[in-house]
Amino acid sequence: MIRFLIRRIALLFVNLFILATIVFLIVNVLPEDVGRTILGPFAPQESVDALNARLGTDKPLPEQYVRQMAGLVTLNFGNSFTSNKPVAPTIGAAMVNSAKLAGLALVITIPISIAAGLLAARRRDRRTDRAIVLFGVSTSSIPEFVTGTALIVVVGVQLGLLPVLANPPRNADALTTIRYLLMPALAMAIVYFGYIARMTRAGTIEVLEADYTRTATMKGLTTSQTMRRHVLRNALVPTVAVIGVQIGYLFGGIIGVEKIFNYNGMGQLMLFAAQRKDIPLLTAGVLVIGIVYMLATLAADLIIAWMNPRARAELGT
């Protein structure tokens, strides 16, 4: 287990290194002149030069690359171009807000979609199964901001049940905060339901067909005993893996959701940075989200290894 963990963490650093290199290539090599990109075609050349000097983008590329990588190790992502303050605290605050929203979305999605997936697997090819699969296929393919729009129109405007803007008032208690976050979280939950439910269904069907499940039934265990002792532990392995991946990808969809509900999280910050061409802030945000994805998949692998000794051997090699 320890060896597995060490290997997995080493791999994480390799991936992070490659990821940071890709981001560096996109930001510093694709445009010929970073200062010009930020200030636009009509800015005087002196301002462009001054900005390049301030951002360090006038230095040769290898030197910039070393500096950015060193910054990544020391968690110093540089200064924002618009506010000239270090970007790390800004991103930290936005991450906390987004984590609340993403957390609520996951708390809603995970139990419901696992239950639906299990139900679909046990009613395989019957009407319940078909309905769950069809609903999952449909909703997981719609962009989050579209489900958000539909929710605002139906639940917010027509029925008037929930607030249509997600920022809770200052000093709101936990319950009020949840009330404000419920609709954006639902918009995301509806999208992730399909992925997780389908994974659970596929995993469960495979396990239900396995010999050891038949043995468990034959030796006289009740259905619920079989499910608890033999099926769940194995069936949920792919589910855990897909949840790990989804936690990282949540941050792609969260941008649209935060925009449409006007919520001050990571998505709005990234959008703010994009509109003002604040490339240092945007770069740092992308890297932080990449790190979140990697940590989430690592956590998922660890949970899988704990759930299933065979997976432990496989992942460890």
Binding site: N15, I18, S141, I142, A150, V164, I279, L282, M294
Partner: protein
Amino acid sequence: MPVRSDRAQARIETMRLLLRRPGFVIGSLVIIMWLVCAIAGSAITPHDPFDDFFAGQQPPSAEHLMGTDHLGRDVLSRVMVGSRDVFTVAPIAAIIGVVAGSILGLAMGYYRGPFDDVMSRIVEAFLALPVVLVALLTLVVLGSSTVVVILVVGILFTPIVARTVRSTVISERQLDYVTAAKLRGESGPFILIREIFPNVLPPIIVEMTVRFGYAIFTVATLSFLGVGIQPPSADWGLTISEKYTFMIAGVWWSTFFPALAIATTVIAINLVADALHTVMSE
């Protein structure tokens, strides 16, 4: 009875199986409907989609089935015309991603070795980032235009497709027919193109439909974020981004119907993809 080749016979059989699936039929009909709107454009819209003749913010009525927007343009006409951008940008991006990804995946899966190891690491790193986010970063850096959007989405799909194709190729290359071709002394590229490629084509076709759906998803999101398709296009994602703030005041129709258009299109494509996947993997 005319004599048909085995391959044509198999194709007809696949088609028959597909037509028996309600998901495939409904999905295809919806896609065809949007395609007709995209091709015919303003020739079949009830009003001119770009001129603002009418009173603004009118709720749906017999004259304007989906109401009018804040500039007094007919929402239904704009939704119909908006399909044109969706059905050009998304398929081209999907094709770029699938072609590039298939070539990369075929090479990685067949040659393995250090090339595959290095490429797999890079693919893995790409997968750590949501496509929308990298696309946002790239479009900010490069400046947004339709061509750039297509290229960026296509390139970002490449690693995803490559990983899928690679894994199918790896299981194919262990089969006897590949060994036989090797023993016959065929060259690597010949085996890849003439032997392995036809056998991995079904999953690639499925991947193509799935990517098409995701391309619509991604481009719509990018347009909504303001870095995708640019005004004055009637693109659905862009329209929502222009009008969603009016929803709070109760003007829901100018946002809701484009949203519905995106939803129906993507669901239709996924129904088709799902049917193809089931039929082709049988």
